[in-house]
Structures are given as C-alpha cells and as structure tokens.
C-alpha cells in the first residue's frame, strides 16, 4: 500500500504511550474536567429530547444508506457541485490529496488560513504545506493553541482540552508578542480575535474540511462555533475543502436529523452558533473559486469489512471520547493517532490496514458507554471485538500458533472442554497458588504477565472447595427437604469450609 501521510513508523503501543500520560496530573485533570463538563451538558440537552432514540435510528439509517449507495451519491455530488461552479478532485490517499491541495494553494502571500479539520490532520496537510513553503494558519482557537505549541490535538471537538489557561497564555504571549496579556479565557479569546482578523482579511486562500457533503445539491455543510469557519469560507478568493468520501449525506433534508444529533452530542448545545451551507460558487458572494477534494485514504477498505464498515457512520462528534472511561484517564495522545478515544480505537487500525495500531482495539474495557452515546449508533464494542479477531488472525502465520496469548487461549479452551480437566485445573490452582499467598491470606504479587494485576490490587486466593465440589458433597436430604417447604438450609452446609 502506498504510504499515508501519518508517520508510517510504528508508534508506541497504547499501554506504553499511556504510561507517561498517567503520570501527567495536570493533563489528566484538564481532560477529566473538560470531558465531565461536556458530558454533563450533553446529558441535559439529550434528556430533553423525547424522540432522541428515533433520531439516532434515523441517523444510523441515513449514514448506512449513504454508504450503501456511496458511488451513486459521490457521482451525484460531483455532478451537482461542478454544475454550480465548483471543482471536484479525487484522491486515493493522503499524499495525492496533499499534492492536489498544494497546487491549488499557491498564492503570493505564502499563507493559507485553515478551519479545523480532522481530515487534513489525517493527511498531514500542514506538514506538506510547510515543506512547500506555504504557512498554514489554523484559525480555530483550539487548533491555534495546538499549532503554536507545536502540539497535537487531543480531542476531536476540543483539540486543546489538555491545555489550561496559563499554558495557553504562555503560548500567546510568545507568539503574539503580548507581554501584558491576561489569562482569563476572555482575554485569550480577544487576543486570538485581533491576531486572526488581519489574517482573514488578507489571505486569499482558505482550506477547510466538511461536516457533510450534500449529494442532492452538491453543497457542503460546516458546523462550528467561533465564526472562524464563516470567515474562511466567506472572505478569501479561493476555498479548498478536503473531505473523506464518507462525509456524504443524500439530501439537504437529511440535515434535519444530523443537525439535531451533532451539536447535542458534540458540545452539549441545542445548536452550535453557526452552520453554513454553500453550493459551488455564488456570484458576488464568497470565494469565486471553490474546490472539493474527495479523499479515500483506505476508507474503501473499511467499507469492505461487513462487520466494521459502520465505523464510517461516524460524524466526528466526539461523544464517545467524553464518555470513555479509558480516554478519561489517558487523554487523546495515548492513541498515537489523529483519531483518539473509542472511535479512534476502531478507525485508526483500519485506516492502517491493521498494520499499525493493533493495540488500540484492546484499549477498551468494552464497557459500552461509547455505543450508548453514539448519535448514529455505531456499535463500537462490537467492532472492537471484531477487530481484535482481525489482530489475532492477522499475525504472521508462522507466529500465530506460537503467540503466548494464543497458547494460553488454546490451553484454557482445552481445559474448559472437559469437566475432568476443569476440576483438575481447579485442584491444581489451589496447590500452585500456595507459595504466593501472603500472611494476609491474599495474593499480593504475581509473576510475569499476571504481575500487572498485582501492581495495584491484591487477589483473593482460590478457596479450598469449588462450588461444584460443594454441590456434589451436600447431603441429598438437604436437596430433598429444600424442595419441600418450609425451606431451611443449615448454616454449616451453606458455608464453604476453609482450611
């Protein structure tokens, strides 16, 4: 496969990447606070919608239908957008998308303004632009913070949630040369407003992503809060939107579902401050040159897997991240990918053809909180399990059978397939554990891979009698009398004898 732009080297696996983050109390505090606030708001505004579950189902079906007819809708989009004066480009992978954008983005100022876009993060567009001598200016407040800090976004919707106001002030003071800048969020927002206004008015090219591509009209919809999006898609002469092929919805009317699901799930607002829809070029209003780059970048590989294609239903609301108890501890950077949290755990390895990010499907307790909040009902736990299966079967053939985990699983299965073996294993366990039982009567330290458990927890040892042994040993009379009334079980027979 041709390389995508994201670093192709194998990043750290999730447990290793998470480790230093778990010791970053500041970051963890920020993440907990931010996800907690959004979760609370989401809970409130979702709770006031009596038809929320019906909307979710409609949303799921609209997304599934869009994918089922994806070729049809993309061609329709292309045709309508072109008819409206837009230009549609197709890119098989990140490199191709970046090349297209680079050619279009050339301008005398040497700058482009950008609206926050996960898709251009995925393609690594900013690096490509910089390498070509074009300075990309992120205009979303959080993305600006991330960019000035040479940092990476840690959340789909709130990319800088790992930074607090003092850290943001430090960045702005340096970048904007404002030594007396206050650190109230209002001061910081005002500084960004002044800093960026000049860029909006003087930069001739803007680059955006897209929340929805509307096949019926060839239109694009962008959902935002700050107005930087409107600035970018209204003021410059040229606008380039980079969108994954999965962003398509059939009709304008489908926005009546999506624009209810997305804001409530993403930021816990009934509606976000600004939604913009435009179609091609509008004479006398806005950019007079408009390009859409439709990006595959292995999305068609996701589409190919019947068990996992629902991953592409995602509308990038980030609700699963806020709900995820794992993300809550680690933040987004542990996922080693643009896409973090539960959705990242299923999307990232698929976009990497299961060659990277194999630890991500295991970065979940399968608690189901992500599925519960997903506005388009992506059954993330189910997809996680499916991808775990692909990780296992994707191991090199020669190693597959010898993988320690596979050996354990096969041995456990062999044991469970015979009652005798299971009994013997129980008896063996009782003997084998003896050296590990401490004076407290518990196991406090275990060897090798099981040692992870005893790092923070003790383990109660196996009792001297298993349930089946107890059941078998109890007097028949107890059973007979128990089935008659009055029921009475003597305490002796119900207690597990302990030695």
């Amino acid at each position: 496969m041709t390389p995508t732009s994201e670093r192709e080297h194998q990043p750290l696996d999730f447990p290793s990447a998470a480790l230093p983050l778990l010791h970053d109390a500041q970051m963890r505090g920020n993440v907990r606070h931010a996800t907690g606030v959004i979760q609370g708001k989401r809970f409130r505004v979702v709770g006031e919608m009596p038809d929320w579950q019906l909307l979710r189902e409609a949303g799921r079906q609209i997304r599934a239908h869009s994918l089922d007819y994806l070729d049809f809708y993309l061609e329709q989009f292309e045709q309508r957008c072109t008819a409206a004066g837009g230009h549609v480009h197709w890119a098989r992978d990140a490199a191709e998308a970046n090349r297209i954008v680079l050619q279009l983005a050339q301008n005398p100022t040497g700058r482009v303004i950008k609206i926050k876009s996960m898709t251009t993060e995925e393609t690594g567009l900013n690096h490509a632009l910089e390498a070509a001598g074009i300075q990309p200016i992120e205009t979303d407040l959080a993305e600006l913070i991330v960019q000035l800090g040479h940092d990476k976004p840690s959340h789909i919707v709130v990319p800088a949630l790992h930074k607090n106001r003092h850290q943001v002030r430090e960045l702005f003071v340096r970048a904007m040369n404002l030594p007396h800048l206050g650190d109230r969020p209002e001061d910081l927002a005002e500084a960004a407003r002044v800093y960026l206004r000049q860029q909006f008015l003087s930069t001739p090219v803007a680059i955006s992503g897209a929340n929805f591509l509307i096949a019926e009209t060839g239109g694009v919809c962008i959902v935002e809060s700050e107005g930087n999006g409107r600035m970018c898609l209204t003021l410059p002469r040229k606008l380039i939107s980079v969108a994954g092929i999965d962003k398509i919805i059939p009709r304008f009317r489908d926005l009546e579902v999506m624009l209810q699901l997305l804001p409530r799930s993403a930021t816990g607002e009934r509606m976000n401050p600004y939604n913009s829809v435009w179609t091609g070029v509008h004479p006398g209003d806005g950019p007079q040159e408009f390009h859409v780059v439709l990006l595959d970048n292995r999305r068609t590989e996701v589409l190919r897997d019947p068990e996992a294609r629902e991953t592409l239903h995602c509308i990038r609301c980030g609700a699963c991240q806020n709900a995820c108890p794992v993300y809550r501890q680690t933040g987004g950077h542990a996922y080693g990918s643009v896409y973090a949290g539960p959705i990242g755990a299923i999307l990232t390895p698929q976009l990497a053809l299961m060659k990277r990010g194999q630890s991500l499907p295991y970065a979940s307790t399968l608690c189901g909180a992500c599925y519960e909040v997903c506005p388009v009902k992506i059954n993330i736990p189910e997809v996680l399990i499916h991808l775990r299966g692909r990780v296992v079967t994707g191991r090199p053939r020669s190693l597959r059978a010898l993988h320690p985990e596979a050996i354990i699983m096969r041995s456990m299965q062999w044991m469970f397939l015979s009652e005798t073996r299971f009994r013997l294993a129980q008896q063996f366990g009782r003997i084998a554990q003896r050296p590990w039982i401490r004076r407290s009567g518990w196991i406090e330290r275990l060897p090798s891979i099981l040692g992870g458990w005893t790092r923070t927890r003790d383990l109660r040892p196996l009792p001297p009698q298993s349930f089946r042994e107890w059941f078998q040993a109890r007097p028949r009379s107890a059973i007979e009398s128990a089935s008659k009334s009055p029921p009475q079980v003597s305490p002796e027979s119900s207690e597990v004898p302990h030695g």
Binding site: R388, R410, M412, G429, G451, W453, D458, F467, P491
Partner: protein, 252 residues
C-alpha cells in the same frame, strides 16, 4: 420450578459462596436447582480477546448442556451479556443451522440472577437479612447490555437491616474489562483508582454488584489499601438471613 444453574467458571472456582447463596435463595423460594456438572465457561474471555473460533466449541458446549432447561440462572451479568450480545452472531458465523436455532430457542430462557428474581419470578423481597451499610456498583454489563436498571436496587431495598448508600458515579467503569486489566494494567489501575474514590466516599461496609469480576477488581484494591470496606456479590447478600450470613466471612 426446576432452575438450572450456570454458576460460571470463575464463580465456581474463586467465589463458590455465590453459587451457594443462589441455591439457598432459590430453594428457599421453593424451587429445585439443577447443576449440570459438565458446565464450564461461556466463552467470553476467548471471544472478547479476539478468539472467535476458539470460543465456538465453548458456546456449543453451553448450548448442549442447557438446551432442555426450563430456565437457566446465571449469577453474572457479563456472562449473560456475552450470550445475549454474541451467541447468535457466533452461531451464525459457524454456519451450523442447528446451533443457530438452538441458540435462538435457549436465549430467552437465560436470566441473570436478579433479573430472574424480579422479572421472571416476580419477587422483590427474598426475605434476606443483612445488617450492614451497603453501596451498589452498577457494572457496565448489567447496565448497558442487560439494562437491569434499578432491579438490583429494588432487591437490596427489601433486605432487612440493610442500609443502602447511593454511590456517586455508580455507573463509572471500574477498569476491569477482562484481559484489559492485564494488557493495559496501568490504565486499568488508574481507572480503578478513580472508581475507588467514589466507592470509598460512601463509607459503606460492603460494596456489591451483579458481577464478581468487577468486585474482584474493586475488592483487590480495597484489600491492597487495607480499607475497611469489602466486596460482596449481590447473591450472597440476598442469601443471608438472620441465623447465617451467606458470605465467606473468614476471607477478610
């Protein structure tokens, strides 16, 4: 009623008092308990770790053993969740038509223990006595797979002398997640640490749940910290009466 007990592999091995308490409660209510000795494991660990082919014979074994049971009682919501969420899919993947129809016929007769009491038997007061301050952890599978809602709470409220203390963030995952607690031991530990703050804030004597997997996790940390609180499966609380607690008291 003849009730077949699927005690689950880890309750059988590690927490026999749970099975004993289930037997006690159900017999006290006048039912007869079958315990098919051939039973072992539902296959959850294999399936959830990505070993679907390895899980299949375990699924088949479970179905063969309980095919003819009138009602199957399982004191573990994660095992019931495994069956309800995945058995049909596993059967479908096997291409075995008989297995598919057996699974579909059996599943409606499988109940988690508290669910069996409240939804199938219509009982919210099992006549238990348990003079302790208790808090309840709503395990992920009981909450989101089985949708048990307040079923366990209703049962606990009817236990004599039991003081039920609500837990803040009762639905926050404890971080166990089966092999997750081994593969991602540090993150799991961090999750547990947060959960434990809420658990200990209740100042209860006992933390209970419908899943011993979570309780093994929470209890392991409580013991490590030499906390005054201990964990107890809901069945052992419901199985306690004035003369004999059903809990394994000497373990603490």
């Amino acid at each position: 009623m003849r009730i077949a007990l699927f005690v689950t592999c880890y309750n059988d091995t590690l927490f026999p008092e749970v099975g004993i308490a289930v037997v006690r409660v159900l017999e006290r209510l006048g039912h007869t308990i079958d315990f098919p000795y051939a039973q072992t494991c539902c296959g959850q660990m294999h399936y959830n770790t990505g070993y679907l082919p390895e899980a299949l014979p375990l699924v088949r074994r479970f179905v063969d053993i309980f095919r003819d049971s009138e009602v199957v009682c399982v004191p573990s919501s994660s095992c019931v969740g495994m069956m309800r969420e995945h058995y049909e899919k596993i059967a479908l993947a096997s291409g075995d038509k008989t297995l598919q129809s057996d699974v579909s016929a059996l599943l409606p007769r499988v109940y988690e223990f508290t669910e069996l009491l409240v939804h199938r038997l219509g009982i919210e007061d099992v006549g238990a006595v348990y003079p302790h301050r208790v808090t309840y952890h709503a395990s992920c599978h009981s909450l989101r797979n089985l949708h048990l809602g307040d079923v366990p709470i209703r049962l606990l409220r009817n236990v004599r002398d039991l003081e039920l203390i609500p837990m803040e963030a009762t639905d926050l995952c404890c971080g166990f997640g089966g092999t997750f607690s081994i593969k991602n031991a540090d993150v799991s530990g961090a999750m547990l640490e947060e959960k434990l703050q809420y658990v200990q804030k209740t100042q209860a004597e006992v933390c209970t749940a419908c899943d011993n997997s979570c309780l093994m996790h929470i209890g392991g940390a409580l013991h490590r910290q030499r906390a005054k609180m201990r964990t107890e499966h809901i069945a052992t609380i419901l199985g306690s009466d004035s003369i004999s607690p059903a809990t394994r008291k000497d373990a603490y």
